[in-house]
């Protein structure tokens, strides 16, 4: 299979974008990606497109993107894999390029969460994303799905509420300087611990905001990448992992089996170890999930995540900065866009152009977890001539 690289990446600022519908957002995201290409790329050079969107609005997704982005002459496919949608859309596109199907393709991720009233968002989505007979009547809301895992992990590894709180503190500090972030203000551990409770152990500031947004990347084969840039970012490892969908059927709630499976596939394909990663964008939908993910990805051993965050190792400036963009918590989480936006951040990091730049970053990793905890996607990227 051929080498595959990102040759362009762009996004719109995330937020409550009441002034933009989904058609506007996807068009602007693709435009931003095209404009980021060092040697330029014309829309007509794109041979196929993949569109990651979790919640369909304003009509049939692939057609909407083809129309809004003026891509009428190429195939467009909608990808949906819960919150792993973005990275899985990249994976699908990349494999098509690697297999020789096309040389240049586009991946766009977007979600228009705020066209639904804020009070209805969770329940509407829950109606189609829970077993109708078994889990839906239990009012198993999304924070509860993740909290059941985090609670068990905290119990087994002796993790405190304060450790959880350090995650939004770090991510808000990073997001404050990111012009694309949804929430750009600092929070303290005291703020997080005092915030209204949502589902124990999560309070309001442990949870992602409701965000709109779109992001796009341009994927090219190794044969043509240098036509577009002297510094492509190589897609070295991609994996998607699954887990049983019902909590009672999962073997061990103190870990995310989907993340482990996705990581194993991605690291195996890339041929590197977790210790080789210089910068990562992880799925901090809820604070404790980021901590558990350090362990599930192999960045540290079992039960060592609290130490990793305590020592500042995962802050920009530390030895393994996590979520320099601000993460889902500060940058925002339009589910279809998130994974693609993570790739945008790592693309910039591995080219030395990120806002919160990690010095000398050569290997980067992105991670999503969703469904509610039954699917994960991991992408590993390498810089050129690092």
């Amino acid at each position: 299979m051929r080498d595959v690289a990102l040759v362009g990446a762009g996004m719109i600022p995330f937020g409550e974008l009441f002034d933009q519908g989904i058609k506007t957002m996807v068009a602007r995201a693709l435009q931003a990606a095209l404009q980021s290409v060092d040697h330029g790329m014309d829309r007509s050079e794109i041979e196929a497109a993949w569109f990651g969107e979790v919640q369909s609005v304003d009509g049939f997704p692939a057609g909407l993107v083809a129309d809004a982005c003026n891509l009428q002459d190429i195939p467009v496919t909608r990808v949906e894999n819960a919150c792993a949608t973005g990275n899985d859309a990249v994976r699908n596109a990349a494999h098509a390029v690697a297999a020789g199907y096309a040389d240049v393709v586009a991946v766009i991720g977007a979600d228009k969460v705020r066209d639904t009233p804020s009070s209805a968002t969770f329940w509407d989505w829950m109606g189609t994303n829970r077993d109708a007979a078994w889990d839906l009547p239990l009012a198993l809301i999304s924070p509860a799905s993740f909290a059941l895992h985090v609670r068990r992990w905290m119990h087994e590894c002796g993790v405190s509420q304060e450790h959880l709180a350090m995650v939004p503190v770090k991510n808000h500090a990073h997001g404050r300087t990111n012009p694309h972030a949804h929430l750009r203000f600092a929070v303290t551990v005291e703020d997080v611990l005092a915030a209204p409770r949502i589902v124990e152990p999560f309070g309001l500031l442990d949870c992602v905001p409701q965000s709109d947004g779109a992001a796009a990347v341009l994927v090219a084969s190794g044969d043509v990448a240098r036509r577009y840039t002297d510094r492509p970012v190589w897609l070295r490892g991609m994996g998607v992992g699954m887990d049983r969908v019902m909590h009672q059927n999962k073997a061990d709630l103190s870990t995310f089996a989907a993340t482990r499976r996705a990581a194993k596939a991605a690291f195996g394909m890339a041929g590197i170890d977790p210790t080789d990663i210089d910068v990562a964008e992880l799925h901090d939908c809820f604070s404790g999930v980021e901590l558990m993910t350090y362990e599930d990805l192999g960045f540290c051993g079992r039960g060592e995540a609290p130490k990793l965050i305590e020592t500042g190792a995962v802050q920009v400036g530390g030895r393994l900065p996590v979520n320099p963009s601000g993460g889902l918590k500060s940058k925002g989480h339009p589910p279809g866009a998130t994974g693609v936006a993570q790739c945008v951040e790592i693309y910039e990091q591995l080219r030395g152009e990120a806002v919160n730049q990690v010095d000398g970053a050569r290997w980067g990793l992105t991670h999503n977890l969703g469904g509610p905890t039954a699917v994960s996607a991991v992408t590993i990227m390498e810089a050129t001539n690092a």
């Binding site: 007979a133 078994w134 609670r151 589902v199 124990e200």
Partner: protein, 400 residues
């Protein structure tokens, strides 16, 4: 004359501001019937031919009570389940009619002070049971309380002394016997205190249908014959109760004060097709045992361990459980009172886990490692249709 073989009484856990026992949000006539019915069935080893549920305030004119009670009690799905509208006198009628069948008579009083009772009655020729003799009925029309269909509360003619004198006292006078002390049940104890001639009994903690069973339990333990008189408006029924050794259990959970709850307006979607497919395993608490030996829940078309198709049978799951993980939801959600706790519990010695609500306890009264039992509860009301399943009832609450 039917023979009493086992008796159980049950009081729900929740108490209101005045200390009265009340049903939880997840309880109703059906769940109370299953709670007390299971206790009674556990005291004797008989096959039940028929179930009768007596209550003065049913939840539904047309509803799923019969199938919920049959599956919840673990009885064959074709077991007849009759619903009878009535109070304490109707319960005595069910306990004293001649019978060739083994019947589980369940009496449910869902309104505060709430409770339920259940009695297993065997056929008249059963030698191990105890018969209630001296059955008599008196009926006068004194419609002080009338509850019309479609009205949420009864009409009450406000004349307590009329009711006591012309409704009850007249009936007691007609039904009493010289050779036995009288216990009057049905109305609140403070209202009937003077009509009962037994002075040294603990007050009957329920009113209505269930009071007949609570009264029976109290009198079976006395040293000599008593007369139980059940009254409701102007209707009354009486039986002689001789001392007897009938297997009996009284269940009264430690009281849990009912706290403030919130609920977000709106509903949870319902698919009756999906509900119907899941019903047998969900309300019967049945797991699926594959030919390879693997036990799993909920049932599915293929075994998650060996992949075999259509090679499994349903079997009852154990009800003792230990909490594996638990979280408390604080935000308002549609169709459920918040705060509430969601737990994943390990079912004893089975390798099977269940995701459940926590019941009969404060949401923060349960921790990882807490032990308890699975009990049938109403999990949700979805578009007006009740949805039943199992909830985790802790053996004891932990302090927050």
């Amino acid at each position: 004359m039917a023979q009493l073989r086992a008796l159980a009484t049950h009081q729900p856990a929740w108490v209101d501001e005045r200390g009265n026992r009340v049903l939880g949000e997840d309880e109703d006539v059906a769940t109370l019937a299953v709670d007390v019915g299971r206790t009674a069935l556990g005291l004797c080893d008989l096959d039940i031919d028929r179930v009768v549920v007596v209550t003065q305030r049913p939840d539904y004119l047309t509803g799923p009570l019969a199938e919920v009670v049959a599956h919840g009690l673990g009885l064959p799905a074709d077991t007849p389940v009759a619903e009878r509208l009535g109070g304490a006198p109707a319960v005595l009628d069910e306990l004293t009619r001649p019978s060739t069948a083994t019947v589980l008579v369940v009496a449910v009083s869902p309104d505060a002070p709430a409770g339920a009772g259940a009695v297993v009655v065997a056929p008249s020729d059963d030698v191990d049971g105890h018969a209630l003799g001296g059955a008599e009925v008196a009926r006068r029309s004194v419609p002080v309380e009338v509850h019309a269909v479609g009205q949420s509360t009864p009409q009450v003619y406000d004349d307590p002394r009329l009711l006591r004198d012309r409704g009850w006292a007249t009936a007691v006078a007609a039904l009493a016997r010289d050779d036995a002390e009288v216990l009057v049940v049905g109305p609140p104890v403070r209202a009937t205190r003077r009509l009962s001639t037994i002075g040294d009994l603990d007050p009957i903690p329920v009113t209505g249908a269930a009071a007949a069973v609570f009264g029976l339990a109290a009198l079976l333990s006395r040293a000599s014959r008593s007369r139980l008189v059940a009254v409701q408006n102007g209707a009354a029924a009486a039986v002689d109760v001789d001392p007897a050794q009938v297997p009996m259990t009284a269940v009264a959970r430690p009281a849990v004060p009912r706290g403030t709850t919130t609920r977000r307006p709106g509903d949870i979607p319902l698919s009756v097709a999906a509900y119907e497919r899941a019903f047998e395993a969900k309300v019967g608490l049945l797991g699926q045992r594959c030919g390879c030996g693997h036990l799993h829940h909920p049932p599915r078309v293929n075994c998650p361990a060996c992949g075999a198709f259509d090679d499994a049978v349903l079997e009852p799951l154990p009800r003792q459980a230990i909490v594996y993980s638990v979280v408390a939801v604080q935000v308002p959600v549609p169709a459920k009172a918040s705060p509430y706790a969601l737990a994943v519990v390990d079912l004893e010695d089975s390798g099977v886990r269940l995701l459940t609500h926590v019941t009969d306890a404060q949401p923060d009264g349960v921790a990882i490692g807490s032990a308890g039992t699975l009990v049938l509860r109403k999990v949700a009301d979805r578009q007006g249709i009740p949805d039943y399943g199992y909830a985790f009832q802790p053996a004891e609450e932990v302090s927050a």
